[in-house]
């Protein structure tokens, strides 16, 4: 009995030892996903009860503090612009020619009725800075081997207290993710696909965000083009650019 227990313990240790260092995994994921600046064109497909809506936009981001988005379609949203500076957000609507400021909790509201909040879109903090992680196993998703990581927030102001991620073992891209509340309640599910090689990094071009507490098929976020570490003039992140 004693021998079996020790054997299991050693076996467990050996298996554990095969898992990579979780922080190095997260760092590699961060290296793929984050950059100093970014310019992207994307389409949001919001799956509704009766029909789907598509919203295309062009976004500019600089670090975690500055972001500028211009909506290109549909016609109703065309010309709408959003500027985020730290925790303040301004939205310019061309139909009213007015700029309104959102702050604090309003950043946590859904973007154009989708399953994404402004925070989801704009929070680009590195995972390794926000979470402690542990590799808990390996699985296969769509033929690709993934590490399963459990992340627990190490800072007080993390949006989600816990996350579970399925990370591609070769490409270090999160293929699937579950976001949890402090109580352990599952809140959102993310599934990424169409992983492409862009500028020496792997990047998922399609992600489905699903608020699991809400009915529906969630929202697809499809990146049609993306540039990392591009030079973005400072004026883009100014209020004057909202009305241009």
């Amino acid at each position: 009995m004693k021998f079996t227990f020790i054997l299991l313990l050693i076996l467990g240790f050996l298996l554990q030892a095969n898992y990579p260092d979780p922080i190095s995994v997260l760092t590699k994921v961060d290296a793929n996903m984050t950059s100093g600046t970014r310019i992207s064109e994307s389409t949001m497909v919001i799956h509704g009860k009766r029909n789907d809506r598509e919203v295309t936009s062009k976004g500019y981001t600089q670090g975690n503090e500055k972001a500028f988005t211009e909506y290109l379609s549909p016609e109703r949203e065309k010309g709408t612009k959003m500027l985020k500076l730290e925790n303040r957000l301004w939205i310019y609507s061309p139909s009213t020619d007015r700029t309104i400021q959102l702050s604090g909790h309003m950043l946590r509201q859904s973007v154009m009725g989708s399953d994404l909040s402004y925070e989801d879109v704009m929070d680009t903090r590195k995972l390794a800075e926000v979470y402690n992680a542990k590799v808990t196993g390996e699985e296969t998703i769509d033929g690709r081997k993934v590490w399963v990581l459990n992340l627990v927030a190490k800072v007080e102001d993390a949006t989600y207290d816990k996350r579970k991620q399925w990370i591609d073992q070769e490409r270090f891209v999160v293929l699937k993710e579950e976001l949890f509340a402090k109580s352990g309640q599952l809140l959102k599910k993310l599934v990424s696909s169409d992983v492409a090689r862009i500028e020496n990094r792997w990047y998922p071009k399609k992600t489905n965000y699903k608020d699991v507490l809400k009915d529906g098929k969630g929202t697809d976020f499809i990146v049609s083009s993306i540039q990392f570490d591009a030079v973005i003039p400072d004026y883009v992140f100014s209020k004057a650019s909202l009305k241009e």
């Binding site: 702050s103 604090g104 909790h105 309003m106 946590r108 509201q109 859904s110 927030a153 007080e156 102001d157 993390a158 949006t159 989600y160 207290d161 976001l179 509340a181 402090k182 109580s183 309640q185 809140l187 608020d211 507490l213 809400k214 009915d215 529906g216």
Partner: protein, 384 residues
């Protein structure tokens, strides 16, 4: 003078239908004006009482970072009041949250309130009788919009003080029926102790509701708003309502006064021989003019009596049965769906004055012509 009144009375009664048509119109005006006044006063009284009983108590002490009219201030608009200053105050903590009724996402305000409070009519005693982990109270309108009933469980998602998501099921411990939409629509009430735990905002409060014995001291970081200040919305609404009503009264009065004026002009034209006879018998022209003025004024006095005869039972009925106003539900002003009109003595007396004085004036204007009449021509019935 007594003779003039006697004569005027006889003339009016003798005129038959012409008199009763004028009196009928005037009494209708009386009834409408008194009824509207009563309705608006009833609205005002009920709105005020509902607000005090359900929402504001004897005033509110608000954290100075919190502005009830600015949702942006909810995030940071809270603080800790020294314990010795909390006497006769009921704390309320307000946070934003989301519920998911029938798979829909609905943004709400979650309000924490003392379980043992009695200043507001919100039935917080139901928190203690509930065995649920997070018992919640909602208003009838909130229950209708979210399709929730007592005993239902629903998922609530909120953020703690650092912005981290948390979620748990809450149980509807009771549904209260109030006309005060500002404590009902889009809101869920839970014990403040629980909300403070859930959000890590220990001892924090957004606003305090003052109990009747509360004496306001100037406390740094907090602003006191008296009952009078907090009721300014209702007063504003009633003011606007009354302006609209005055326009209706004016139109009605104008129609009634036009009828009296027409009657008077016609009387003076048709009763020239009678006027001549009065003067021949020794009455001065001024006395004859006074007679015609009294006749005009008497229309409004008759109308007062007739209006009282027909209106009183009607007013008594509505004061007891109330008037249904279902379309007013959901307004930010606490208006009941049944309004009980209030008929004050001042309102009734001022309505009588409002009708009698103009009636007298419009009767006098054509009667002035009598003073220029030639009595001989008047006796002959010559048109002057």
């Amino acid at each position: 003078m007594k003779l003039l009144f006697h004569l005027a009375y006889k003339n009016l009664v003798g005129a038959g239908l012409r008199t009763w048509l004028n009196v009928g119109i005037l009494s209708f005006v009386y009834i409408i004006i008194v009824f509207y006044n009563g309705f608006v006063d009833g609205l005002s009284r009920q709105g005020t009482r509902n607000s005090i009983e359900w929402e504001i108590g004897n005033g509110e002490l608000l954290n100075n970072k919190y502005d009830p009219y600015n949702a942006f201030t909810l995030l940071d608009g809270h603080g800790i009041l020294p314990a010795d200053k909390e006497k006769n105050l009921v704390p309320v903590l307000i946070r934003q949250a989301t519920i998911y009724p029938q798979g829909r996402m609905v943004s709400i305000l979650i309000k924490g309130i003392e379980t043992n409070q009695t200043i507001l009519k919100i039935p917080t005693q139901l928190f203690t009788s509930s065995t649920a982990k997070i018992p919640a109270l909602i208003g009838k309108q909130m229950a209708a919009s979210t399709n929730l009933k007592a005993g239902d469980e629903i998922m609530l998602r909120w953020r703690d003080k650092n912005g981290t998501f948390d979620a748990a099921n809450i149980t509807i411990a009771g549904i209260f029926d109030t006309q005060v939409a500002t404590i009902d629509i889009g809101q869920i009430w839970i014990p403040i102790k629980k909300l403070r735990q859930m959000t890590d905002l220990n001892q924090h409060t957004t606003l305090f509701i003052a109990v009747n014995d509360y004496v306001n001291e100037n406390i740094s970081g907090w602003n006191f708003k008296s009952q009078y200040d907090l009721l300014s919305n209702i007063r504003g609404l009633i003011r606007v309502e009354k302006v609209g009503d005055y326009i209706i009264y004016l139109l009605l009065l104008a129609i009634a006064m036009l009828a009296i004026f027409d009657t008077q002009v016609l009387s003076i034209f048709r009763r020239q021989r009678e006027i001549g006879t009065y003067i021949s018998l020794g009455m001065t022209r001024a006395q004859v003019a006074k007679l015609f003025t009294i006749e005009g004024c008497m229309y409004s006095l008759f109308a007062t009596v007739i209006g009282a005869v027909f209106g009183t039972p009607l007013f008594i009925y509505f004061a007891h049965a109330g008037i249904g106003t279902p379309s007013m539900q959901g307004l930010a002003i606490p208006i009941a769906n049944i309004v009980y009109p209030v008929y004050g003595v001042v309102a009734i007396v001022s309505t009588i004055v409002l009708v009698v004085v103009p009636a007298t004036i419009v009767s006098f204007l054509p009667a002035r012509k009598i003073s220029q009449m030639n009595p001989v021509d008047a006796l002959k019935g010559k048109v002057q």
